[in-house]
């Protein structure tokens, strides 16, 4: 048996069982320990029982000691002394490398900190961090660390803090599970290096608890943020879905909220009210939001501004507020709302707000803004959703609100309609009673006449410009107005003017052909048409196919035997043009005499 180490001033002794307990360490010497003490040799230490730590330092290390693993073996280290160290070098600044603590529970005295101090390569795995008090125990980890499979558990309302001060080294946190009922906070500080936090589960961090994540990349992290929680992300990239989940939150703006800066997050708040204030971020929102709740998307910085928001892939019903009173909203970029029912607070400044709506009912709770503010609302017709009345191309409501007195939305309200493929555009708007709104509709068919119906009444007939812009036209509101633009399709129109009424071939001789051409007929039409000819021959007694008629239009011409009664040709394109008729006469051997006939030419739609 090899003596494992020296116990100084300690009641604890280290024992070695002389055999290897863990396969990965099969070549290492294992030491059994019964309590705290100084670890002066590298190796694998196994705790054989629960211990209460009353001193300032539980495990101390000799200078230069490295490669130590402490296996709690399912036991508990109860830190009963305030602000004690689990690990600490004999000399505070000792550099101790590759220290691992695994497989047990560390219970922290209420209100105290427990320090895991190491300068490099701290490895913590399969540890339950818990407390026995009522307030705010904290685990402080310094240095280069990896933390795997940590459960932070509280049984009371207290919070748990794990403070990872990685000021000088990157650290890795994997599979942390935090269960709290109190005001616990999780604070990660990683000032200079990007850290990776993966597969974590943060639940029931409630009260005034906080989660700080700075300069981190998060994979598949489940944040279940309770009432009055606070989550702060900066430079955050979240992968996996849902990334942030708010369960049972019942607060309002003063309640739980999430701050994201430079983030790209997936956000879901199925049952709850939550607030996401994002700055320079893309927020993907999923879930079925209660219409009675309000979700705040935005970021308040020191100057009280919201900017550069991209709200995408909203597949649920979303109550969206992108503006708060006394907060300026500008430069939202592309605010894309997909297939949802959005309840929007909109504040329009001179920088303009562009909202792209993809198959959504957009319902405005408020529109206000600075003088000259511009609100651009664009609709993409290719998207449909359960929230969009299928009979409507867009559904746009501004219910019973008073538009800010300092902004004339009416003069600058623009509506874009994408992907026009049909002849009808329908949407519903609802402004406060008495408001006059001048509408300009974009992206319509160019040079096309539209009937504009207001609540079913034909009110305007207007023609779009070559770029597909129509308007402006004025709508006065007293209740919701169904605005329907229907492409004007007039009744078939065909006007024919014959510029000749008779032709005379004069003297003709049998077995000879004669022609009279250049007989003009003016055609004005908006539809295709056919031409029929009919008539009698020169002589009912003698003639056989004596007269042919040719009608020419450009290079297109057809000749039909005059004796037939049938379609001469079909489907001329709509045109305003001149036809030229040409008659050719072939004289068979017929008796001498004067001949005449009546040729009936029908132009039919």
């Amino acid at each position: 048996m090899k003596k494992a180490g020296i116990s100084l001033g300690s009641l604890l002794f280290f024992f070695s069982l002389g055999f290897t307990l863990f396969a990965p360490l099969s070549n290492a010497q294992a030491y059994h320990i019964a309590g705290c003490g100084q670890l002066n040799e590298s190796g694998y230490y196994i705790l054989d029982n629960d211990i209460n730590v009353t001193q300032d330092v539980c495990f101390s290390f000799g200078q230069g000691i490295s490669n130590i693993t402490v296996d709690l073996n399912g036991h508990t280290i109860h830190m009963t002394k305030a602000n004690a160290y689990i690990f600490r070098g004999v000399y505070d600044s000792n550099v101790i490398a590759n220290v691992t603590i695994i497989n047990g529970t560390i219970k922290v005295y209420s209100g105290h900190y427990v320090y895991f101090t190491n300068k490099s390569n701290m490895y913590i795995e399969d540890i339950n961090l818990t407390s026995d008090g009522t307030c705010c125990p904290s685990f402080v980890v310094n240095g280069r660390v990896e933390i795997h499979n940590i459960n932070m558990v509280t049984t009371s309302t207290e919070s748990l803090n794990i403070i990872v001060d990685s000021s000088y080294e990157p650290f890795l946190v994997d599979s942390i599970n935090v269960y709290g009922n109190g005001s616990g906070s999780i604070q990660y500080y990683s000032y200079n290096y990007l850290s990776n936090i993966t597969n974590c589960n943060v639940q029931h961090v409630s009260g005034s608890g906080k989660v700080y994540l700075e300069n981190v990349s998060v994979d598949n992290v489940y944040f279940d943020i309770d009432y009055l929680s606070f989550v702060y992300f900066e430079n955050l990239t979240v992968r996996g879905e849902p990334a942030i989940y708010c369960d049972g939150c019942v607060g309002d703006y003063t309640g739980n909220f999430i701050l994201v800066k430079n983030g790209n997050i997936n956000f879901q708040a199925d049952q709850a009210e939550s607030s996401v204030f994002a700055y320079n971020s893309i927020v993907n929102v999923t879930g079925d939001y209660s219409t009675s709740l309000t979700h705040y998307i935005g970021y308040i910085n020191a100057t009280g501004q919201i900017s550069n928001i991209q709200l995408k892939n909203v597949t649920g019903v979303l109550n969206l507020t992108i503006n708060e009173s006394s907060i300026n909203v500008y430069d939202l970029g592309d605010l894309d709302i997909y297939q949802t029912k959005a309840f929007l607070y909109l504040y329009c400044t001179q920088y303009g707000i562009t909202v792209d709506v993809f198959g959504s009912e957009l319902k405005f709770a408020d529109i206000s803004g600075a003088s000259g503010g511009v609100c651009n609302i664009s609709y993409n017709r290719n998207f449909t959703s359960a929230y969009l009345d299928p009979s409507l191309d867009t559904y746009h409501r501004i219910y019973g609100i008073t538009i800010g007195s300092t902004v004339d939305i009416g003069s600058s309200f623009k509506r874009y309609v994408y992907e026009i493929s049909s002849e009808k555009v329908v949407f519903v708007d609802d402004f406060e009673s008495g408001r006059h709104v001048d509408y300009t509709i974009y992206n319509l068919k160019p040079n096309t006449t539209y009937n504009v119906y207001l609540n079913g009444t034909l009110t305007y007939v207007m023609t779009s410009s070559p770029d597909g812009t129509l308007g402006p036209f004025n709508v006065t509101f007293s209740s919701p107005v169904n605005i329907t633009l229907e492409e004007f399709t007039p009744s078939p129109y065909l006007s024919i003017t014959f510029n000749y009424s008779s032709i005379d071939f004069g003297n003709v001789y049998p077995y000879n052909s004669y022609a009279i051409e250049g007989l003009a007929v003016n055609v004005s039409t908006n539809t295709n048409y056919s031409v029929y000819i009919s008539g009698t021959n020169f002589s009912a007694e003698w003639a056989i196919n004596t007269l042919n008629l040719t009608i020419c239009y450009d290079a297109y011409s057809l000749t039909k035997s005059f004796s037939e009664t049938e379609t001469l040709f079909d489907a001329f394109p709509a045109l305003n043009a001149t036809h030229y008729h040409k008659y050719t006469l072939y004289v068979p051997l017929v008796p001498v005499g004067n001949y005449s006939t009546a040729v009936v030419i029908d132009y039919r739609v």
Binding site: F498, D504, V508, P510, L589, Y595, D602
Partner: protein
């Protein structure tokens, strides 16, 4: 025509209930002139050897075979006139000529002199495209033996 324009306006006013159709009636006229085309299908008649003092000699081959015919296309009645150059008459030979629609049925024979005379007038009631047959007979006076020939001129004219 003004009629068409007026009609189009009316239909436009009626809107959806009317199916527009626009037509006009054009009077086309022509005057067909008299026309006759005759093609002679023979150019010589030979009576062979005849006897002095004989009459009504038939040519060889005989006209009853129909070999002396003309093709006619016409939309009008016409007359046929004929004469001979005088070579027969001055030498004591007399040539008789007839026009018939049937080679085996003799027409009315006329003795050809040196002046043109009408030998046939058609009585068509419609256009005619067909064949007419010419018939020849020769009377020989008391003249010296020898070979004699003459030229016969036949003219078809619209009546």
């Amino acid at each position: 025509m003004k009629y068409a324009s007026l009609l189009s306006l009316l239909i436009l006013a009626l809107g959806l209930v009317a199916v527009p159709a626009y037509s006009d009636t054009v009077t086309v006229s022509a005057t067909v002139s008299p026309y006759i085309s005759v093609t002679f299908n023979y150019n010589a008649v030979d009576f062979g050897t005849v006897t002095v003092g004989s009459t009504d000699n038939h040519p060889t081959p005989d006209y009853t075979t129909g070999v002396y015919n003309v093709s006619i296309d016409t939309n009008t009645n016409y007359t046929v006139s004929a004469y001979e150059s005088g070579d027969f008459t001055s030498n004591g030979l007399t040539l008789d000529f007839a026009v018939s629609s049937n080679p085996t049925v003799d027409g009315t024979f006329y003795t050809l002199g040196t002046s043109s005379q009408t030998v046939y007038t058609s009585s068509l009631t419609e256009t005619f495209e067909g064949t007419e047959y010419h018939q020849y007979l020769l009377d020989v006076g008391d003249i010296p033996t020898g070979s004699y020939s003459t030229t016969v001129y036949i003219t078809y004219s619209a009546a």
